[in-house]
């Protein structure tokens, strides 16, 4: 056991101010003079004083901490959004704490509860589908929040994102426009994931509107992993007739699809076209480079931070922030080859 932790009184003594002033300087720095603030901060630093947040939160109910709950740690896109979110919050003196639910909505409720218990002033969530209890809890506690990466069609929840369904429609429309009729999809796992579900629904809608079916055996749901993309593509390439185009629910699945085609000497895009979703950095350097949908991963983070900060300052904010997406046509798509 080392010596007991420095107390507020110790900091006050070293800084030569009252404990009330120390407390004010550490919790509401803008209310004390710059010279005093400097003295208190220097003293706190020298004594390694950590305000007992728990005690502090009980008094002020403000922690200057924002929580974010993301589906998966291993997804580079959420990492980009989170990075932007953090930068923007940091500029306003807020710290971001992250928790992850691994695509399980019950776990999401649990980790969100833990964040609230630890004391966060606001929350950022991914997607529109959540456990109902989660919204009840946020509502009853009056904690500001914003949903990201998707648009809430009910109008009940503030959101920052893009229309996943519309984006997927554009991909499917483009493939039909260049002549494809035998189309398959490797989608993300749709259970508990509104983004994956909307992308599948969008592709289906666009094809239906052009009189093209997307039968069940041509739709495979897989976790977002390269190996899963490869395995699904192996299955699709055995179908008769073989699909001439494979729409993938994200770039990771698409990379797996392109790799599997390479491994089976199926030429991309001459024999099979492949599309992704997200436009990760790797998408542009594959050979051939991936045709995909560019999503505003950084902008989502910045815009979400803006909406949260407005609400924390008592403003109402914008209920829906819709961001644009672009179809980026590169080398993995081309008109279908002649039937063999």
């Amino acid at each position: 056991m080392t010596k007991p932790a420095a107390k507020l009184a110790d900091v006050a003594r070293l800084a030569g101010v009252s404990t009330a002033t120390v407390s004010r300087a550490l919790s509401q720095p803008h209310l004390v003079g710059a010279a005093t603030l400097n003295r208190v901060e220097a003293a706190a630093q020298r004594l390694h004083y950590v305000p007992h947040g728990t005690a502090r939160a009980l008094r002020s109910r403000r922690t200057h901490t924002v929580g974010a709950v993301i589906p998966a740690l291993g997804n580079a896109l959420y990492a980009k959004t989170t990075h932007a979110l953090q930068k923007a919050l940091e500029a306003d003196g807020y710290t971001l704490l992250l928790a992850c639910h691994e695509f399980d909505l019950k776990t999401e409720l649990k980790v969100m509860r833990s964040l609230i218990e630890r004391g966060v002033d606001a929350l950022v969530l991914v997607g529109t589908e959540h456990d109902l209890e989660l919204f009840d809890l946020l509502g009853s506690l009056g904690i500001p929040y914003v949903l990201t990466w998707a648009l809430d069609r009910t109008g009940r929840h503030p959101c920052v994102g893009f229309d996943n369904r519309l984006a997927a429609r554009r991909v499917a429309d483009y493939l039909v426009d260049i002549g494809h009729r035998d189309i398959a999809m490797v989608a993300g796992v749709t259970a508990g994931n509104d983004r994956a579900r909307e992308r599948l629904a969008g592709a289906r809608e666009a094809l239906a509107a052009r009189g093209i079916a997307l039968p069940t055996q041509r739709v495979l749901e897989r976790p977002y992993m390269i190996a899963a993309g490869r395995e699904a593509t192996r299955t699709l390439l055995k179908l008769v007739p073989r699909p001439t185009a494979v729409i993938c629910g994200n770039d990771v699945l698409a990379m797996g699809a392109v790799m599997e085609c390479h491994a089976q000497s199926v030429a991309v895009p001459a024999a099979v076209s492949v599309t992704g979703f997200d436009d990760m950095e790797a998408a542009s350097i594959l050979t051939p480079a991936l045709t995909t949908v560019r999503v505003p991963m950084h902008e989502i983070g910045y815009a979400a931070a803006r909406q949260i900060l407005i609400r924390l300052k008592g403003g109402t904010g914008v209920p829906v922030t819709e961001l644009a997406v672009d179809l980026i046509v590169r080398g993995t798509t081309a008109p279908p080859g002649r039937p063999r």
Binding site: G53, T54, A76, T82, H83, E102, E117, G142
Partner: protein, 341 residues
């Protein structure tokens, strides 16, 4: 906070569950100490009322939050993300929640976010790497909570750590290329200033080359941010020199994949004309064609071990102070003997 209606109190839960507030409190904080029937009643009441134990109050009372904090450089690195994923799984199965904070390779930010985590109340802390601000260690000591350094090993003997000897791993890669006959080396790596892993990997490569009397001239050492584009730029810069290298050691897979993409774009065959190696063994490394020669770090195992380490400390069990994990060189298709003169 634009507080809507007044949040429910513990007494409301107790009232609905028909138990005393003391029992309700015990049920919510130490569930194993109350009878299952009571526990179910209290939990159900808490659920109906949307009651959230004010962690602040609870932490003051019990001094246990069942929350573990982790401070990492960034999530934007698949390896860190994988370590955290494994850490979380293991903690979750022991009833702990993981809270993460990122410092984006800034030492001042690391102190700040760690302070936030400590202030919010955590039972234990995982830090990535061994080089940290002294102030940060002092803060942890003050709090007297268990912590562990993960990813690299602390050679000072002062801090508990689980990880790899990055320098030895780098020596192994360099030796592999030396054994193939390479003499003209270059290295593309992350910024060494705030990144001890990059620094140690550079040192390891230099040591291996030095042992065989081979130089690594400064113009052949390129520091870049970890991004595919950096690997491309680095490779292009190296190949535009008067004496281009025959072996390029990259300090992670992302840089290596970028370097190979640039070789493809420039029409330089890999590995016939140039060998390229990575570090980490990301999922994509084995799936590329040719497959990437790289150093495999068992990221999952590391995350699990870090969790075990903290959980053992929390229950007062002895721990291995310095836990070294083995690494494995994966020789795949991107390394081969150098072209004949």
């Amino acid at each position: 906070m634009s507080a809507a209606k007044k949040a429910n109190q513990l007494s409301d839960v107790a009232h609905l569950a028909k138990v005393s507030t003391a029992t309700a409190s015990r049920a919510l904080t130490l569930p194993h100490k109350v009878k299952p029937a009571t526990l179910t009643r209290v939990q159900e009441a808490a659920r109906i009322l949307g009651y959230v134990a004010h962690g602040a109050a609870r932490a003051l009372a019990t001094r246990r939050t069942h929350t573990i904090g982790a401070v990492i450089p960034t999530l934007d690195n698949a390896i860190f993300a994988n370590i955290m994923h494994a850490l979380q799984k293991k903690l979750d199965s022991a009833g702990y929640t993981l809270l993460l904070a990122c410092h984006e390779f800034e030492s001042a930010a690391e102190v700040k976010v760690t302070r936030t985590l400590l202030a919010r109340g955590i039972d234990g802390l995982v830090l990535l790497g061994t080089s940290h601000d002294r102030q940060l260690y002092a803060m942890i000591k003050e709090r007297q909570i268990p912590y562990v350094l993960a990813w690299a090993l602390d050679e000072s003997g002062r801090h508990p750590s689980v990880g790899f000897v990055h320098r030895a791993a780098a020596r192994q890669i360099a030796d592999h290329l030396l054994d193939l006959g390479h003499r003209e080396f270059a290295m593309i790596l992350g910024f060494t200033a705030n990144n001890e892993r990059a620094r140690e990997r550079l040192r390891g490569v230099k040591e291996a080359l030095f042992a065989r009397r081979i130089q690594l001239p400064p113009e052949r050492v390129i520091e870049k941010p970890y991004a595919l584009a950096s690997g491309r730029e680095g490779l292009r810069a190296l190949m535009s020199g008067a004496h281009p290298p025959t072996a390029v050691i990259c300090s992670n897979d992302v840089l290596a994949i970028g370097a190979i993409a640039e070789c493809n774009a420039l029409g330089i065959p890999v590995p016939e004309q140039i060998s390229v190696s990575g570090f980490d063994d990301m999922e994509i490394a084995s799936l590329l064609s040719p497959g990437l020669t790289t150093m495999h770090f068992p990221a999952d195992e590391l995350g699990e071990l870090a969790a075990d380490h903290l959980l053992a400390q929390l229950s007062g069990k002895p721990v291995e102070w310095r836990h070294e994990l083995p690494v494995e060189l994966k020789v795949r298709g991107t390394t081969a003997p150098p072209p004949p003169h």
